[in-house]
């Protein structure tokens, strides 16, 4: 189909508008600007939805209709020298209105949305009057593509949040981005923006980076960005400035795309379609004309809009954006008590990481204690070294470094905890040891001081049981590395009171972590699911499935790492310990692998060995120490077993009330284990692949919530 214009385009806009009753309409407000240097009149189109910067402009069908009408009106004039597009303060546009996309049920409607964007934006691209984009701030997806379709661009040095995040969600930059960007800045850089950044935690660009990459032709400081941009545009029109852009090198084109495909395969193994479609479009951009390329983008967009992976991606995005910020089941936040000093029992590696985090984010004194003065001192010097690293990287300035270093002290005298409001223990993972730590602390701290534990598997209720004030004990489970992973599981024991839970959530928020409220059940959420997964893998290996097969079994899911790499990262001893705890609690669903025991006893870094190519294997030497059965199963069989096990375990967790809803399970897996958006965490995938219904007789979430309707 050709690019829609005229009445075909307005018909498409009317059709798409009819699909949704509510749209926050971004207006396209046109004003005449008298240009300097006798350059004539510019029609400046401001995109503005009338709300503040927290509600960015978006492109729903009515908004695109507004822009279409504004462009038409300008292009119908014979007295203008230029058309320009800019945003409202701090925001250009956040792209397509995804709330609407998530509700589409018909592939033709999806295609209509794709064609509308192309139809409207292409008018800017093909305009006989020069078109300019002044990128004043946030520009995501379609919000960047509207600029790419203009003939010239400026960017504010203060702008942030500029990206083509489509592949992160499960789409492609299909309003011209996949075609125009490689032709503008060359394939390697375009791949960085379209593929690499989205797959790397959705990394975004700043104004200076946008200029550096050649996406913008000029950059101006934010103080008078619009004034300077208009001045520059007038210079371009009057010939005082000529814009020279480097011609992309077609020779590198295919090779660069091939290399990017290898990288995508490495990460996703085909599990999510969007990056592959994007790669195809970028490859074709070399020789395509605009019509052909936009038609291909329409096809890709409409198919992806109707894909399960996108629906899961949008669901996951919503969880991370909204549910993570307003966790379910938390008490009134006004109950939270002020925390003005923090104690950490222990001075080991975990304790040091916690000390840096607390000092940096809460900016209150942090005392670390150890029975041994030398170890306490070592903990403090570890903290100081970590702070120096932050300083060296320019993340903090020397004054802040001094401040944080001064905040963290070490002691062997627990009386220094007397005025702490929050004490967290990070000692050896053994119930009696932790009970003793809390009992000793209780003699020193106030009755209201929160006693938190970073245990990964022990019972909070049991830990609090001997105390005079068990209501102030709470689980505060971080994920390693503490500074990087955003998840914190906050565990409520049987007797934990609301004020304690509220304080824990308030502290978590100040630490800039996303917390999920979890009941006091063994393994909590993330460890329970990961260890259950691992149980199926190790059980299969013990029974005779080759490790090569076992490690490949989950590859088609596109998880962040293979099971044996995960096992190695967690550490075989920790994995074994948690497996044992869970086995004690839940029985044979959790497999305590004899071969894993052997590996731990031998002090090996993991269960398996690695070949030169980086695949799992067993050397003869290792194999000789293992006891392995003769019941090999295939990758598919093992994958089915794992998925069935996950569905079963999550079903049990929800029945036990470990978390409030399946959404919390998914949120924990996304934030704590890095599970991908295209699976929606995991429950949308288990639902859409029929596993949940097979195992539990019903779905976790109704159709249409995280899947196609």
């Amino acid at each position: 189909m050709s690019i829609a214009t005229g009445s075909e385009l307005t018909d498409l806009i009317a059709r798409a508008s009819a699909l949704t009753e509510v749209e926050v309409v971004t207006k396209a407000l046109s004003r005449d600007i008298t240009l300097p240097y006798g350059a004539g009149t510019m029609v400046l189109i401001s995109l503005d939805n009338g709300l503040d910067h927290k509600r960015p402009n978006t492109f729903g069908p009515r908004s695109l209709g507004e822009l279409n009408a504004a462009i038409d009106a300008a292009q119908a004039r014979t007295d203008i020298a230029a058309i320009a597009v800019t945003g409202k303060p701090f925001i250009l546009a956040a792209g397509a209105d995804l709330s609407q996309v998530a509700k589409l049920t018909d592939v033709d409607d999806a295609r209509a949305i794709a064609r509308i964007g192309h139809g409207v934006f292409a008018k800017l691209h093909r305009s006989s009057v020069p078109t300019f984009a002044f990128i004043n701030g946030l520009a995501l997806g379609g919000g960047l593509e509207v600029n790419l379709n203009c003939q010239y661009r400026t960017v504010s040095a203060g702008a942030a949040g500029i990206a083509l995040p489509e592949c992160f969600l499960g789409l492609v930059p299909g309003w011209g981005g996949a075609y125009l960007l490689p032709r503008l800045i060359g394939v390697p850089n375009a791949l960085k923006v379209i593929i690499e950044n989205p797959l790397n935690n959705n990394r975004m660009l700043t104004g200076p980076q946008v200029f550096e990459l050649g996406i913008a032709d000029a950059i101006f400081e934010p103080a008078d960005f619009l004034e300077r941009s208009i001045d520059w545009a007038a210079k371009v029109i009057s010939g005082q400035v000529t814009v020279d852009r480097a011609e992309p090198d077609p020779a590198q084109w295919d090779m660069a795309v091939d290399m990017a495909k290898e990288m995508v395969d490495e990460q996703l193994a085909g599990a999510a379609p969007a990056p592959y479609r994007a790669l195809d479009l970028i490859r074709a951009a070399k020789d395509s004309d605009l019509e052909t390329a936009y038609d291909a983008e329409d096809a890709a967009l409409s198919e992806l809009i109707m894909s399960q992976e996108l629906r899961s991606g949008l669901y996951a995005f919503d969880l991370v954006q909204k549910r993570a910020k307003r966790p379910a089941g938390t008490p009134d936040k006004d109950l939270a008590r002020k925390v003005t000093k923090v104690g950490i029992v222990g001075a080991g590696l975990m304790a040091s990481q916690l000390a840096v985090l607390f000092a940096r984010r809460l900016e209150v004194p942090v005392v670390m204690s150890d029975l041994d003065a030398e170890r306490a001192a070592k903990g403090v010097s570890q903290v100081q070294a970590d702070i120096d690293k932050l300083l060296a990287k320019g993340r903090i300035n020397p004054d802040k470094a001094n401040r944080y270093k001064a905040l963290v002290t070490g002691t062997t005298d627990q009386s220094e905890f007397a005025d702490c409001d929050f004490v967290i223990e990070a000692v050896f993972e053994e119930l009696t040891v932790k009970q003793q730590v809390f009992a000793d602390l209780e003699k020193i701290v106030s009755a209201e001081c929160v006693l938190a534990t970073n245990t990964s598997s022990l019972s909070i209720t049991a830990m609090a049981s001997g105390l005079a004030h068990p209501e102030r004990v709470v689980g505060f489970h971080f994920f390693n590395p503490v500074a990087v992973l955003p998840l914190l599981e906050i565990i409520r024991g049987e007797q934990t009171d609301d004020a304690t839970v509220a304080t824990a959530f308030a502290v978590s928020k100040d630490l800039r972590k996303n917390s999920v409220l979890v009941a006091d059940a063994p393994g909590f959420v993330v460890n329970r699911i990961l260890i259950r997964l691992m149980s199926e893998i190790t059980r299969a290996v013990d029974q005779g499935t080759p490790v090569e097969v076992a490690d490949r079994a989950l590859k088609p899911l596109g998880l962040p790492m293979s099971p044996f790499i995960l096992l190695q990262l967690v550490g075989p001893a920790t994995a074994l310990h948690v497996a044992e705890t869970l086995h004690d609690a839940f029985g044979d669903r959790f497999w305590v692998s004899p071969n894993l025991k052997t590996a731990v006893e031998a002090g090996r870094p993991g269960l398996v060995d690695w070949s030169m190519e980086g695949t799992a294997t067993l050397t003869e030497e290792t194999a000789a120490t293992f006891t392995i059965g003769d019941q090999a199963i295939t990758e598919e069989q093992l994958r089915d077993r794992v998925l069935n096990a996950l569905a079963e375990e999550i079903g049990l967790m929800l029945a036990e009330g470990v978390v409030a809803a399946p959404m919390d399970i998914d949120l924990c897996l996304i934030l704590g284990a890095g599970w991908p958006f295209h699976l929606g965490g995991i429950t949308p995938f288990l639902d859409r692949s029929g596993v949940t219904e097979r195992v539990l007789g019903q779905r976790f979430l109704p159709k249409g919530v995280a899947t196609l309707p």
Binding site: R31, P36, D48, K88, A223, L226, E227, I230
Partner: protein
């Protein structure tokens, strides 16, 4: 400290002036100043930003977007290095003039080499007298006449004092001001000092202010005759023969003459001297008379030495009182040749530097003129005058 040295005006810029409630209704006052400061620095790449020793910005109401020590906030917002200090200054209508004389004094004394001085008034955001709490003693002890705080009433009072200044004369002066501004626009004289400002409007989208909004070039005597006299029934002061309520900002570069020479910047004016003087607040408009006499006396000059006048047109009557006093014709081309505040507007604390910008232009165009003055009346009964020498005159004489 160095010995006293010559102080020069290097360059000045301003935003286009807007009518209150219109052009800049959704644009911040401090952003207007920032545009001016950045334009000055852009026009003078010879000046390393870190060499600016002070940023003095005047505002009559120093709260909200004109608060928080606006000289410092705008220095930071303009991207000047944090080592450059700044302060806020207030002498009502003569704010920017006082920013210039104060920094000039510091330069003369050797405390600064280069300063940025200017002013702003966003009368949309800060109506005249906003938040003021006049001491009840003013009225209880009859320290001032009750009319003294209403500027229009003080202008009516001035008509009372000088009956020969009729409404007809005031209107005629107003028409002349409009015509001179229109002519200066046609000749491109006023636009060269304007810095364009992006104007936000949630309703209409971004615009770009490139010209003053207040001028009414088609003003006629007949039209003016029909206007209301809001300050007094059957009075003489109208919206047509006064400056309006306006938004705008100005800024200029003041430097030691030696520093200007070192940086290779030709000065536009050399400061000869200045004076401020007080008068009865109920006739504040007469303030420029004693201020000018004082300044001339101190400089050892007489009114006959002055070849160019830039007098602020808060009210036509106040200009006429000045001209009558010194025996100058009200349509003399040496007075406000490019028009004045009646046509252009008068964003209170910003206007002093606008006068200097226009005098500098007169100097450039007229090397035969040696001395000129900028002068203005000031609320609560004051006047301020700065005497300037034309560097082009000296050069002319060397030839």
């Amino acid at each position: 400290m160095a010995d006293s040295r010559d102080v020069v005006f290097l360059d000045g810029v301003r935003t286009p002036f807007g009518k209150a409630g219109s052009l800049y209704a959704e644009t911040r006052a401090d952003d207007l100043v920032v545009n001016c400061i950045r334009e000055l620095l852009r026009r003078h790449p010879e000046i390393p930003p870190e060499r600016v020793d002070e940023v003095a910005i005047a505002a009559t109401t120093q709260t909200g977007d004109q608060g928080l020590t606006i000289g410092r906030t705008t220095a930071l917002l303009s991207g000047l290095p944090s080592s450059v200090p700044g302060f806020a200054i207030d002498r009502m209508c003569a704010g920017a003039m006082t920013a210039v004389t104060t920094t000039a004094s510091g330069i003369g004394f050797g405390a600064y080499d280069i300063a940025i001085a200017g002013g702003v008034e966003h009368m949309t955001h800060h109506p005249m007298g906003e938040g003021a709490d006049p001491n009840p003693r003013f009225l209880a002890e009859k320290l001032v006449d009750p009319s003294s705080l209403v500027m229009g009433s003080t202008a009516e009072n001035l008509h009372d004092r000088f009956p020969e200044i009729t409404k007809e004369r005031a209107d005629r002066f107003a028409v002349l001001s409009q015509q001179r501004v229109a002519q200066a626009y046609t000749d491109g004289i006023l636009t060269e000092s304007l810095v364009p400002v992006a104007t936000r409007s949630a309703e209409h989208g971004w615009g770009l202010a490139t010209a003053d909004e207040p001028p009414r070039p088609d003003t006629t005597m007949e039209a003016l005759a029909g206007l209301k006299t809001p300050f007094r029934p059957h009075g003489r002061v109208t919206a047509g023969n006064s400056a309006g309520l306006n938004d705008g900002a100005t800024a200029c570069l003041i430097a030691g003459a030696d520093t200007a020479a070192e940086l290779g910047i030709a000065p536009a004016m050399r400061m000869v001297g200045f004076a401020f003087a007080g008068v009865d607040p109920s006739v504040m408009g007469v303030g420029p008379v004693p201020a000018t006499e004082k300044a001339l006396h101190r400089a050892g000059l007489s009114i006959d030495d002055i070849g160019a006048f830039e007098i602020n047109e808060a009210f036509a009557v106040q200009v006429l009182a000045f001209l009558d006093h010194f025996g100058i014709d009200q349509d003399d081309p040496k007075v406000n040749p490019y028009g004045g505040a009646i046509a252009l507007g008068h964003p209170l604390a910003s206007s002093g530097v606008r006068l200097m910008i226009q005098l500098a232009r007169t100097f450039r165009d007229n090397p035969q003129i040696r001395y000129g003055i900028t002068t203005m009346c000031i609320g609560l009964g004051m006047g301020g005058t700065v005497i300037w020498e034309n560097p082009n005159h000296a050069k002319e004489n060397e030839k």
